[in-house]
Symmetry: C2
DNA sequence: GGCGGCTGAATGAATCACCATTCAGTTTTC
DNA sequence: GAAAACTGAATGGTGATTCATTCAGCCGCC
């Protein structure tokens, strides 16, 4: 009966559980950091047994990597779309800034895991984060480049340096926000100030 | 003969040893990260016995904290001096940027420990780094504020947001530099581009 | 001046708490 | 009732920290 019933239980209970584990891990990592977090804490927070974690992830590292990849890949996908749009370049930059800060504003824990915990393991950082990070920089630098070529942005700044600076600036703002008050209003305002600052600095005169 | 010989052995070997341990720790932390580093590795790199570390430091955390405090305190001291000078504010900003990037350019390992390892433990980060970080931001924001009051900088940007963005930008540049090629020339050029970008963005028109 | 004894820095092997991972057994699903 | 999913106690490896021991340098006594 019920060929596959209410939606699904099998096919969905698995992904569902994987998701619950990831969400729980984000929460616990954000609070205690990666290394100080026991696998059993993640399990407890997710409401599963310790061993269950290992049905969905190779090991503890894999949990962190998965959080990171899910989060960044999602961000990168949207970023690429915005970068490739045919908006004016200034507007694209603004949208990227709002995107990066906005995407995380209602996900404070994720923001903290990405900005802080990501750097916890040099190995993870170098192996997983660095390439994605560079990709992010490339996309951003591409937009700046385009602006320079079409004469909208001044041409005397290295586009990659600008991209790194912009990324760092957003990361810094996000970091203080995650560690501090975390008022969403403040973040939105910071985004607009930041965009304004960079665009004025980039403008060809 | 030789009343007390080549300088001294007792009184000087102690501070000297503490220093050797710190220097060794910076090197090993930079290569492997804080958590992946064994105390015995630090000991070996410093040429002392494992136990000796505990004569100079309370525990492994204390080694990291000491590295951090030494490094940042030195930076903060100079920063405050520059910030309080009576140079034109634009020039002060430029000097601060060059200072932060320049201070570390010949200390790549320290740069990596401070930008990467520092974030390894949420506890350490929140307890030790956050306050110093905020102090750094305050000093920076103070200069921006001053520039705004005297009409050199535009007044419509929140000075703390600008400070955070600037700090983040420098951190981001330093991070890619520490993880990547680490060409000192590149860092110096990045510093000047970054200064230029921010100053143009800040200028009152 | 040289000798016996004292001090405390330094050592590194042994301890032991900790925790990721496993897997034998149980429950759920179909 | 078989297979899949799940459980959580037991295991084993690891590595920070300890501490009994060593020994270099120093003192004061003869």
């Amino acid at each position: 009966m019920v060929i596959h019933s209410a939606a699904n239980k099998r096919k969905s209970s698995a992904p569902d559980k994987r998701d619950r584990i990831l969400k729980a891990a984000v929460k616990v990592f954000a609070k205690n950091g990666f290394y100080a977090t026991r696998v059993s804490e993640i399990a407890k927070a997710a409401g599963v047994a310790d061993g269950t974690i290992y049905l969905y992830f190779k090991n503890k590292d894999d949990v962190l990597i998965s959080i990171f990849e899910d989060g960044i890949q999602r961000l990168l996908t949207i970023l690429r779309k915005v970068a490739a749009s045919d908006d004016r370049v200034e507007h694209r930059i603004t949208r990227i800034i709002e995107l990066q800060l906005g995407l995380l504003e209602d996900q404070r824990d994720l923001a903290e895991v990405i900005t802080v915990n990501l750097r916890q393991s040099s190995r993870l950082l170098k192996q997983y984060a660095a390439p994605l990070f560079m990709e992010y920089i490339e996309v951003l630098a591409g937009v700046v480049d385009e602006g320079q070529k079409q004469g909208t942005f001044r041409g005397d700044l290295n586009s990659r340096v600008v991209a790194r600076a912009l990324f760092g600036a957003l990361d810094g703002i996000l970091l203080t926000w995650a560690l501090g008050d975390a008022d969403p209003q403040a973040l939105r305002k910071a985004a607009s100030h930041c965009a304004n600052l960079f665009l004025e600095g980039l403008k060809e005169r």
